[in-house]
Every structure is written in C-alpha cells, then in structure tokens.
C-alpha cells in the first residue's frame, strides 16, 4: 500500500517538474510547480516528517508561489513562442548535461548502496512538531534567532531594490 502511494507521488512530482520545464506559458509553469511542491509534501509524510510537510505547503506552495504568481501578473510577460519550435544545439547540450549529472549521482549511489541506512525504528517519533520544537528552541536557538534577522533584512532589501529607479540621462 505505502509503496503504491510512493510510486504515485513520485510520478506526480517528476511529471509536474517536467511539465514545468517544457510549458510555454509562465503561469502554467508556476501552477505545475505548485503540484510538485504538494506531492513533495506527500513524500515527506511518507517519511513521517509531518512538521516539514505542513511547513512545505505553508511556505512553498502558499507563500513563495503566491509571490511568484504576483510577480508574473505584475510583469505581464508573454509566452515563449519560440521554445522547441526548431532544434537547437543548446537544447541538446542541456539534455546531455542533465543526463550526465543524473548518471553521475546514480553511479555514486550505486557505489555505496550497501552502506545506506535501513529504515529506522524510531522514524515515527522524530518528525513530529514536539520533537522538532524541542530541538529548535534548545540546541538550535541561535540559528533560529538569526533567521528572524535574515528575513527582516531580506524584506527591507527587497523593498529598497524594487523601489530603486535609475534616473534617465
């Protein structure tokens, strides 16, 4: 049962990632990316990481993708009409490079496949909000506070950059 669920989510994630890359319309690409994020959250649930699954949907599928869609609507970008109309050397080279990267990673995974960890018995206990909060507010308190400063700096910087206008002449 859990294996079939995994196969469904994996096919959904990879299919939507491919559809995002080859779609001409920018808004459709963004919506395919949302499907990808949600199926990744499902995969996190299969790994018993409930906290991260919820955070993934809230932050990625919720906040970041809404930001992307706002920017797309604001910029009023047109479709890429010329995508895949004719064969380009660039596409071929990009495909070769991607295949090389995936082959390299598979080769290195196959080399260490007998050293990879088996499924842990306490997998169900570590992914809960209690466990995550317990570590986050004791051992990782300083990085957590740093995150607040980082986000504030990012918001202020984004406002500054987006308002900036080069004077003509």
């Amino acid at each position: 049962m859990i294996v079939y669920l995994f196969i469904l989510l994996a096919v959904l994630a990879i299919g939507s990632a491919l559809a995002m890359v080859i779609n001409k319309n920018v808004v459709n690409s963004a919506l395919f990316l949302v499907i990808n994020m949600v199926s990744l959250a499902g995969i996190y649930l299969l790994l018993n990481a409930q906290f991260l699954a919820v955070i993934q949907i809230l932050v990625y599928a919720g906040a970041i993708m809404v930001l992307f869609l706002f920017v797309i609507m604001l910029l009023n970008v047109e479709d890429e009409e010329k995508l895949f109309d004719k064969f380009r050397v660039k596409y071929f080279l990009a495909f070769i490079l991607g295949a090389a990267v995936v082959g390299q990673i598979f080769y290195s995974i196959a080399g260490v496949t007998n050293m990879l960890p088996e499924i842990s018995s306490n997998m169900a206990e570590i992914g809960t909000v209690e466990a995550a909060g317990d570590v986050l507010y004791t051992k990782y308190l300083l990085p957590f506070e740093m995150t607040a400063i980082l986000l504030t700096a990012a918001v202020v910087g984004a406002l500054m950059v987006a308002q900036y206008k080069i004077k003509k002449g």
Binding site: N48, L52, V102, S120, L150
Partner: protein, 100 residues
C-alpha cells in the same frame, strides 16, 4: 517496505530536470522557479536521510534551508522587477547590463 535509494533517485532526477530548465529557458522568472525546484530536490535528500537515520538534525537543517529559500525568493523577485522596470524585458538573452 520503503528503501532510501528510491528517495535519492527521485531527488537526483528532479535536480537534473532543474538543471535542464535553467539551461534551456529564457524567461528569468521560470529560471528562478527551476532553481527552487533544485533546492527542493536537495531538501528531499536531507529529509530522507534524517528519517532513515532516526535523527532530527537533518529536518532542522531543511527548516533553515526553507527560511533562506524564502528570503532568496523575495530578493530575487525584487531584482527581476527592478530589471523589468529599466529594460522592459525579463528575457535573459536581452539583459546585457553587465556584459561587455
């Protein structure tokens, strides 16, 4: 039962799709979305190792990576808006401000 190899496999495939997208697309917003896809693929690797080892540290790392990704998305999209206001395009082949 689940094996960790499968999760690493999906992660590798998604990362490569992100690389191909960055290389072939010309719209800056779509290139940015492909970068987010690659970040997600790496996050999946971290979460699967964390769960299979039974150690929460990897998931906390993914939490911080999410926060950094949010900050990065905000700043990157602001830069794209600034470029659009000055050049009226987001096609990366026509943006040549830093090219000589």
């Amino acid at each position: 039962m689940l094996e960790i190899d499968w999760f690493l496999g999906i992660s590798a495939i998604m990362f490569s799709i992100g690389i191909i997208g960055v290389l072939i697309r010309r719209n800056a917003v779509v290139i940015f979305m492909c970068v987010e896809l690659m970040l997600n693929a790496v996050n999946l690797t971290l979460v699967s190792f964390s769960s299979f080892h039974g150690n929460i540290d990897g998931q906390i790392f993914v939490f911080f990576a999410l926060a950094v990704a949010a900050a990065e998305a905000v700043v990157g999209l602001a830069i794209i808006i600034a470029i659009f206001r000055n050049n009226l395009t987001v096609d990366v082949t026509e943006i040549n401000l830093l090219r000589w």
